[in-house]
Amino acid sequence: MSATAAGLLQLVILLVALAVVYRPLGDYMARVFTSTRHLAVERAFYRVVRVDPDADQRWTTYLFSVLGFSAASVLFLYAFLRLQDRLPLSLGMDGVDPALAWNTAVSFVANTNWQAYAGESTMGHLAQMAGLAVQNFVSAAAGLAVAIAVIRGLVRTRTDRLGNFWVDLTRGVVRILLPLAFVFALVLVAGGVIQNLSSPEEITTLTGGTQSIVGGPGASQEVIKELGTNGGGFFNANSAHPFENPNAFTNLVEIFLILVIPVSLTRTYGVLVKDRRQGYAILAAMAVLWGVALAGVTAAEVSHPGTVPEAVGATTEGKEVRFDTWASALFATSTTGTSTGAVNSMHASYTGAGGGIVMLNMMLGEVSPGGVGSGLYGMLVLAILAVFLAGLMVGRTPEYLGKKIGRHEITLVALYLLAMPFALLVGAAIAASFDDTRASLLNDGPQGLSEILYAFASGANNNGSAFAGLSANTDYYNTALGLAMLIGRFVLMALVLALAGSLARQTPTPVTAGTLPTHRPLFVGLHSFTVIVVAGLTFFPALALGPIAVALA
């Protein structure tokens, strides 16, 4: 079979698997977040941690719970990493330095999982499983909770209540993430991913040399890293490492895990707003963006333009033999379209066009299909903008699902859409302006600028992948990227919850002949176009100096 046919068939298998679970998982998640019953284990959990599961929170309280939980998480994880040398299973690793511990703590709490460290030489097993992997679960569940609260804002009327964060968080973990993670962790181990508590063991190789065989609870972390769209690798090489991703089967499983919740959540949305077509329309817009990006990256990597790829005859630099070009491009598109940031190939060594598209994929705001929860609420914000633009064209007060988009709402939408570019471009501009910060670059010229842009795009969009040539473990990058991650996560969450609070208070407007239908192909087109135009207008000048210049070189 030709590589093209195999690559296309692999894509078909992935899409069929996603289609099969779409309805059951989407419907199940809708039930999870609407059920009035607490499981016995959940009731016990609420008693132990002393939170009232039946309190219905205002958007401000909901937000304070998110922020309080996240602040506690940052402090806890920071202390954990600083003190890891005093804890068991540290493998003799030192406590993590302050700037790196801050960056890593923020990174994992913000669902970014940017890694300025190499796992195998920095983190002991306990820090990995009880520090970092716990955040893989709960940061994903927090994103999911916020998305559900935003949906409630659209569904509910004449109320100032959006639900209970602690309940949404707990149910997301207990009923969705943990069961899926448990099952698929075993699937990954069966496929060859390691799961042990061994220290590195030095062996004598066949030729008489020595090699350290590393160990660790890999699969239990790998699975939630993908499922929670986190992306922080157990090892430096992330999902390119054979112990994290041993073959093309585990590779496809991991891509499936990355996409399954963000995709199925559109079904949940359709069920919750009692109009499934709305969910399909959001999914269609996500699929258009993902599909175009996938076609672009695959075409660029297969046709391999550029000085080095042409000299080599392929884009094998930074790719593993067991994943061919197609499996690498599929992973790259999915990981950057979802705010995951795991990599099975090194994006820095992609062609100019391929690397540029995966960067743009993040700059769209992580909505194709986006991170767990964050992809959906990001897409809803853009849908509201699309409705507003359409309203301007016909001179009519715009509404989305019967909720009026007035001055207050569109102000919040505008702030939401400006916060991420602000964090990205300001951080990158400072980094590009000083000799000290430029000293971290591996490549020079446009490729060097791409390294900086990619890093801040990755941080501000909570992706976490990198053009990894950048030596990011410096005080400036650790601090600035930490701030970018915080803005990209929590300022956006605050704005979107404020938006939900405002929508929930409204009395719905009845549908009339003049209402713009938001489930038709026309709107899907308008919606995807809006996503591209917003990102294009914001980032084209920066992209032109970086990846576009590389691609045209």
Binding site: M129, A190, Q211, P242, T315, V550
Partner: protein, 194 residues
Amino acid sequence: MSIGALARQTWAGLRVLIAFTVVLGVAYPLAVTGISQVAFGDQADGSLVEHDGEVVGSSLIGQTFEGEEWFHSRPSAAGDGYDPLASSGSNLGPESEELLALVEERRTAVAAEEGVDPADVPPDALTASASGLDPHISPEYARLQVERVADARGLDPSDVGRLVEDHTQGRILGVLGGERVNVLELNLALEELG
């Protein structure tokens, strides 16, 4: 709402986090480890391979093979080459002059070593993998090395060639990933051959 309210929520958050840490950070990974060790012990421990009763590596982790009597792995950017304590790609970009020079240097070296035209050196022999630990090479690169290895070991090239064919793995289910040869397994089989 006030700082007091935020402080209360942070305190609640800390309680929730500690409870989750016990469940998700200790119980869950230990349960997965326990089941994995029982049901999939070999894989869970890293798919180790033995030779004469000694562990000589993992079939998933590539090794450096130097000398004419071995099939060689790809170039590696992990430490000094295939160092599992420093997994990494080169991260050099498509226009990097440094990478271009490296590629040309490798092409000349491999062509001279295998006695072939520089244009016939396959891409994976010229480039470093993403992890620096890639256990595989392409079937083309393996076939390219047959003559040299057979010569160095005093074996019949057709026997060594057959060994390469036997160790060429196709796409999984005929569809997934790339065609490949596991270098450590191939070299082990070579040792058995004599």
